[in-house]
Amino acid sequence: MSKTVLIIEDEIVLQDVYKLVLTHKGYVVHTANNGIEGVSLMKKIKPDLVLLDLFMPLMGGKDFLRNIDMHDYPNAKIIVCTNLSDRETEAEVLSLGAHKFILKSSMTPADLVQLASDTVGDPVG
């Protein structure tokens, strides 16, 4: 059974590179440009992994976390990928149900693939 990844990221260049490497690896990838699109896609696709940006128009990452009920998605892992490096924010999003907090600028595409694999396993199997 293939693993599904939802990328919620308003920065298209990053959305593209994440989608590129993860699809290449074999994950099924969906993208959303903000929290609102993210919430509706969550219900539709019930992803295994969510890569969630924080600063986004219409609805940001924290609001997204507040607007979904993690009980509806017991298997989903949410990794917050942001360029806002702030320990308070990190603690906050973890308390809101995020699995991990990653600084985007510290991560290469290879690191991302490794992270996805470490978190939800390889796409097939």
Partner: protein, 642 residues
């Protein structure tokens, strides 16, 4: 009968009725008889001759020839009339002017007289009997009385003061109870409002008249002591100024009263007095002090309130010049304003200045000065002033407080906006750098196909450069977070010895390039402290980097970790270029880079030592610098185990 000058001898021309004439001669009245229509004197007794100042030679002569002085006085005509008509004439107090002496001096006598016709047996008039009694003294005496009374009455009626004579009425206990008006003058009614008062008593007009009127007049009547007084007559609604004196002897109960209605005067006086009293009270009770000064600035008067306002007594200020009290800094301004006041009547200025308080301190006063030089009874410059020291102090305090608060707020706002700017800028700068990193990585990872070794090397350079940019952005962001006190330590137990060893290992490649060595000594194998590991690692790397960067190739860096009681000591020492003394003060400041012989060759943000100090202090520790130019540098960190 012969004519004779002798008195007591009847003087007769005809010898008629001699006996009858004898009878007349001694009478105490002047008697004369004339005969015929020419009124020839036939008889004149001694008394007649005496009062007419004639002698017996007049006998036998007509009266018109003898009494020439009477020619114009009508007596001859009276005689003619009596003779012709036979009707007697009776004259009372008839004045007669006599020529009594040679100098022609005239005197007037008053006579009561009768001209009685003498008739014959046929009832024909043949002569006149003149009988006169002199009443000059009586007339003169009465005239004198009449004149006096006239004079008195004229006075009585012409004075503009009320006048009356009253008769006191006493009760059974000899207590004055009432009085009756005996006489009043023409002004009386106007001054009292009482009409037709004569004969009536005071109580008839005013039953409730104040008792003191009766007692005062009663006392005058009883004692005879005159009295002058002012009193109110409520029943008449008037005030009087009265003078009362008894007239008549001890038994008299009559009192003459001369009085003036002073109601209006009294009203005006009372009004002035009340007004004066009011203003005096106002001035004395006022919290403002009032002062009168002349144009030279000499104090003429100061109100009592000065005691509260400036501590002086009014007396000690009298005659003193105001300039003696004014603060030298405020005096020029005061003088300018003072001169403005003196220019024209009613000129008014308001000013605030400092004056010397009695206790020696400077007090702020607020003064309004008005030119009353032309105002009657004032003729001075009037100033009222109040002590506003407290207000001034409060204002100054408020201003100071406002300034401090505003400055702090402004600084905080500025600082906050700066921190927010750096945080946001860092975040926004990271995103494109992140994209560059990702895409270069894709190529380097040969995601888009194989690349040559050269291509890989160039891309790697681009990648490294981008990494350095990200590192600078991270530094800025971290600094902003530290400044905003948003930075929270995540403390965990940590063995500093192994942390140091790891750091040295990680830093080995850089050391190798510069052929530098590290000599690390630890007091114990394991020195544990409760620290934020990531931050302390950052501190160690920063100090290592600095020691390496600012030391020449081939030198040694010495590191030591000691445990002293509650404290841990980390010492990093190099034999590098050192830091001049004058730079020691700002070496831990933000964005500080000190020029030295190696500064051109090393890169840095000038934030490293700032973080080091902030992080150590957040751990409750201190960092100390020991350095001199060319003598190497030593950093000594002391922080608690926990």
């Amino acid at each position: 009968m012969a004519n004779t000058n002798k008195r007591n001898t009847p003087h007769s021309a005809t010898g008629d009725s001699d006996r009858q004439y004898d009878l007349f001669s001694q009478a105490p009245a002047a008697i004369a008889v004339t005969k015929g229509k020419e009124h020839v004197i036939d008889f004149a007794n001694d008394f007649f001759l005496e009062i007419t100042a004639k002698d017996s030679s007049i006998i036998g002569q007509p009266v018109r020839d003898v009494f020439t002085e009477l020619k114009e006085q009508g007596f001859f005509e009276l005689l003619d009339n009596v003779y012709t008509t036979g009707t007697p004439f009776i004259g009372n107090e008839m004045p007669i002017e006599w020529q009594v002496n040679a100098e022609g001096k005239k005197t007037t006598s008053y006579l009561n007289f009768v001209y009685r016709p003498l008739r014959d047996k046929d009832s024909r008039t043949y002569g006149i009997l003149a009988h006169a009694v002199e009443v000059t003294e009586q007339v003169n005496a009465r005239r004198l009385v009449e004149e006096n009374e006239e004079r008195y009455r004229t006075l009585f009626n012409s004075i503009d003061q009320g006048f009356c004579i009253i008769e006191m009425i006493f009760d059974d206990n000899n207590k004055p109870y009432d009085y009756r008006f005996i006489e009043v003058n023409s002004v009386f009614e106007q001054q009292t409002g009482l009409k037709n008062a004569v004969g009536k008593t005071m109580r008839q007009f005013a039953p409730d008249m104040e008792e003191d009127w009766f007692s005062i007049y009663g006392n005058v009547a009883l004692t005879g002591k005159p009295v002058r007084f002012e009193n109110r007559a409520e029943a008449l609604g008037r005030w009087y100024d009265a003078f009362a004196t008894r007239i008549g002897g001890d038994d008299s109960r009559r009192v003459a009263v001369l009085f003036t209605d002073i109601t209006e005067k009294k009203k005006i006086k009372d009004a002035i007095q009340a007004s004066e009293e009011r203003f005096r009270t106002l001035i004395e009770q006022s919290t403002d002090a009032i002062q009168l000064v002349d144009t030279a600035g000499n104090i003429l008067y100061t109100s009592e309130s000065i005691r509260q306002v400036l501590g002086y007594t009014p007396e000690e200020l009298e005659g003193v010049g105001v300039e003696d009290f004014i603060h030298p800094d405020d005096y020029p301004h005061f003088l300018e304003k003072f001169q403005t006041i003196t220019l024209a009547p009613q000129n008014q200025v308001r000013l605030e200045y400092r004056v010397k308080h009695k206790d020696g301190s400077w007090a702020w006063v607020e003064t309004v000065g008005v030119n009353h030089l032309d105002t009657p009874n004032i003729n001075a410059i009037v100033g009222n002033f109040r002590n506003i020291t407290e207000r001034k102090n409060a204002e100054a305090e408020q201003l100071k407080l406002m300034t401090i608060t505003e400055q702090r707020d402004a600084l905080m706002k500025l600082n906050k906006s700066k921190d927010e700017f750096i945080a946001l800028a860092s975040h926004q700068l990271r995103t494109p750098a992140t994209a560059v990193k990702q895409y270069i990585s894709l190529i380097l990872d040969e995601f888009a196909g194989p690349i040559t070794a050269d291509q890989m090397q160039y891309l790697q350079t681009a990648y490294d450069s981008n990494e350095r940019q990200l590192s600078i952005i991270n530094s800025l962001l971290k600094t902003a977070q530290i400044d905003a006190s948003k930075y929270k330590l995540d403390k965990q137990p940590c063995d500093l010895v192994s942390l140091m060893n790891e750091a040295i290992d990680n830093f080995k490649p850089a050391l190798d390039i510069r052929k530098q060595t590290v000599a690390f000594t630890a007091a114990k194998k394991k020195i544990t402290a409760l620290v934020d590991i990531a931050e302390i690692e950052l501190v160690i790397i920063n100090l290592l980097e600095n020691a390496s960067k600012y030391s020449h190739t081939g030198t040694q860096i010495q590191i030591a970790i000691n445990a002293e009681g509650r404290f841990v000591e980390i010492i990093v020492s190099d034999k590098g270029v050192g830091i001049a003394k004058e730079h020691h003060g700002r070496i831990f400041d933000k964005f500080t880079r000190v020029d030295n012989e190696l500064s051109d060759t090393v890169s840095g943000t000038g934030l490293g030592l700032y973080w080091v100090k902030q992080i150590i202090e957040m751990h409750g520790g201190t960092i100390q610098l020991k350095s001199a130019l060319g003598k190497g540098t030593t950093f000594i960190i002391r922080m608690p185990h926990e």
